[in-house]
Symmetry: C2
Subunit: 325 residues, 2 copies
DNA sequence: CTAGGTGCAAATAATTTGCAGAGGC
DNA sequence: GCCTCTGCAAATTATTTGCACCTAG
């Protein structure tokens, strides 16, 4: 967040007039990174103009929440705090009861589980709040604490790129291996083609990651923001492992389908969440690419099953898959 | 919750005098199942004694929270609600913004992920709050909604027993199969012994489940309370599947170790949480039993590896396991 | 008799609102 | 000029507190 001014006109909701007071409040607010209480904001504002009323600040905060510029969060202190949502996706909080500081994280896995619970109860979930209360590292041990800070936007981009890169690497390994083990000529060609695409995309992503690091040299040492189990070895790692144990052609295709589907879902979800930035672009491209791969694999799987069915009738096929998204 | 009176003397914290007012408030409060605001409680109390002050109700609520009888929950309404904790473990909430009703659930999987996040950040978590806001089935569709209600205690016991039973079934299958495929005589004897124990325990659990159902005929049709991925086919199901694909003796032992460890963890966690009741007993017994199995398997695994190592030196062994809990 | 418990009324604390004046379009 | 924004002070809401009185141990 380098620029001192924000593109308020784009953010501004339908109704409402321009007003220097409001503009001041909004700008001061957006310039902050943490979670401000209404009172904190009043203090900040008064440093610049001591004749601004508390009521106006409250009204402006309300306006910002309605406009989607700000989010009202409750840390159980008996008053609300506000965080801006500009390049700052919804997230969960770790809240230290000792120093009252909070740090943010996202967990794709927790989000999926929440969705499962909601759907099991036929509940239309619109928003989830997860707060973990306790004591942070700095307050427990002496002082140090890991290298905190950095904008959430950057951390999100970093973690998402890491995941994307790991996914491409494991995808590349998977398709390269599948191409060597597949007996069916058409299937082999498909796997080869996919391996090439992964290779190319991998290069793009790695370049992107280097650009990001150049913007903040400490970025790599900051704590994880986006938790995602599939991230550890890439979404295709398990599939590649199964290939190593030996599978037939249609099984290989099916494994690919599963991996692509998981990967497509992941990137689609976060691509949509990540606001207007280079990262969003990457995610959505990634998701699109995976969806194409997915469709390709499914088509091929069906074709293969049909061809094999003609040759040796009766061999129970696994259930076909649907394309999601 | 049949009895009209509660054993307040056991719940009562160190300090404090008996008082008819306080007893009345506590009793009325504990008799409720839902989430009461202070005001709701005042109304309820005033039905019995209209000369009780709002301040006394607040003071008593505070006292109950300190005593651990009640929990203060914040649904983001700008005021607190209270739920009793008597046979009512900590849980998460689904909150309908339309009818303002809330329903409860637990997810072992979400809890594990929360622990992982906290430990990755070196954060000592003491309590987590997860609220899912949205619209419930009843408010979205016309009226019906699933058979809600029943005490959380019963639902928890039901789900935990279901999981225990599924685990025993899959454990039985696993050990029975392992006993037939194991070549090593000592290992085989161990698996046989474990299969017998699972069989016996299974009988106990099924009897327990029938007793529970007898207490509430609608119990089976109520929505899931305790979500746990391992529940679907029992914790050993995956292990049994791997046996079917063919493994050697030490691999079979290792798979058993993994399954027992997962199962031990699960039952220990919920055994500790489930208050004073038949269910708690079952859980803790279960956890203990699993821990013994675990120790037995680990001992046997080490012995086997040593014996095999003497025979054909050099075959990389998988890393040995630690007993947890 | 004495530490708590209780009622009442007043105090807090965060936030909202009524109203009259100021300012943008 | 009209409609919205703004400041100020008063209102609101949930909860807490001071204080005098009451009651159990």
């Amino acid at each position: 967040m380098d620029s001192a001014e924000f593109d308020l006109d784009r953010l501004r909701p339908a109704g409402g007039k321009r007003s220097s007071k409001r503009d001041l409040i909004v700008n001061v607010f957006l310039r902050q990174e943490g979670h401000l209480s209404a009172d904190d904001l009043v203090d900040l504002i008064r440093q610049q103009d001591h004749r601004i009323s508390r009521a106006t600040v409250y009204r402006t905060l309300q306006w910002m929440v309605e406009a989607g510029i700000a989010r009202k969060v409750d840390f159980g202190e008996g008053r609300f705090r506000f965080e801006h949502s500009y390049r700052h996706p919804r997230h969960f909080h770790l809240i230290c009861k000792t120093c009252n500081r909070s740090s943010e994280f996202l967990s794709s896995d927790i989000e999926s589980l929440i969705e499962e619970v909601a759907s099991a109860r036929n509940f239309a979930a619109r928003q989830s709040v997860l707060q973990i209360y306790g004591t942070c590292e700095a307050c427990r041990t002496g002082r140090p604490a890991a290298v905190e800070g950095g904008t959430t936007e950057m951390l999100f981009a970093r973690d998402a790129l890491r995941i994307a890169i790991a996914t491409e690497r494991s995808g590349l390994e998977f398709y390269a291996r599948a191409a060597t083990t597949t007996k069916d000529a058409r299937g082999r060609a498909i796997f080869q083609k996919l391996a090439e695409e992964e290779q190319e995309h991998l290069g793009t992503l790695e370049a992107r990651y280097r650009v990001l690091l150049a913007r903040d040299p400490q970025l790599e040492s900051r704590p994880t923001f986006l938790f995602f189990k599939g991230a550890a070895n890439g979404l295709f790692a398990e599939g590649a492992e199964r290939l190593r144990q030996g599978v037939n052609d249609s099984q290989a295709l099916m494994i690919g389908i599963k991996c692509e589907r998981g990967s497509h879902r992941f990137f689609k979800r976060y691509g949509e969440r990540f606001e207007d930035s280079a990262g969003k672009q990457i995610f959505l491209e990634f998701a699109d690419e995976e969806r194409e791969h997915l469709a390709l694999l499914i088509r091929e799987y069906r074709a293969l099953v049909k061809r094999q069915g003609r040759q040796r009738a009766r061999r129970p096929a696994r259930r076909p898959a649907r394309v999601t998204g």
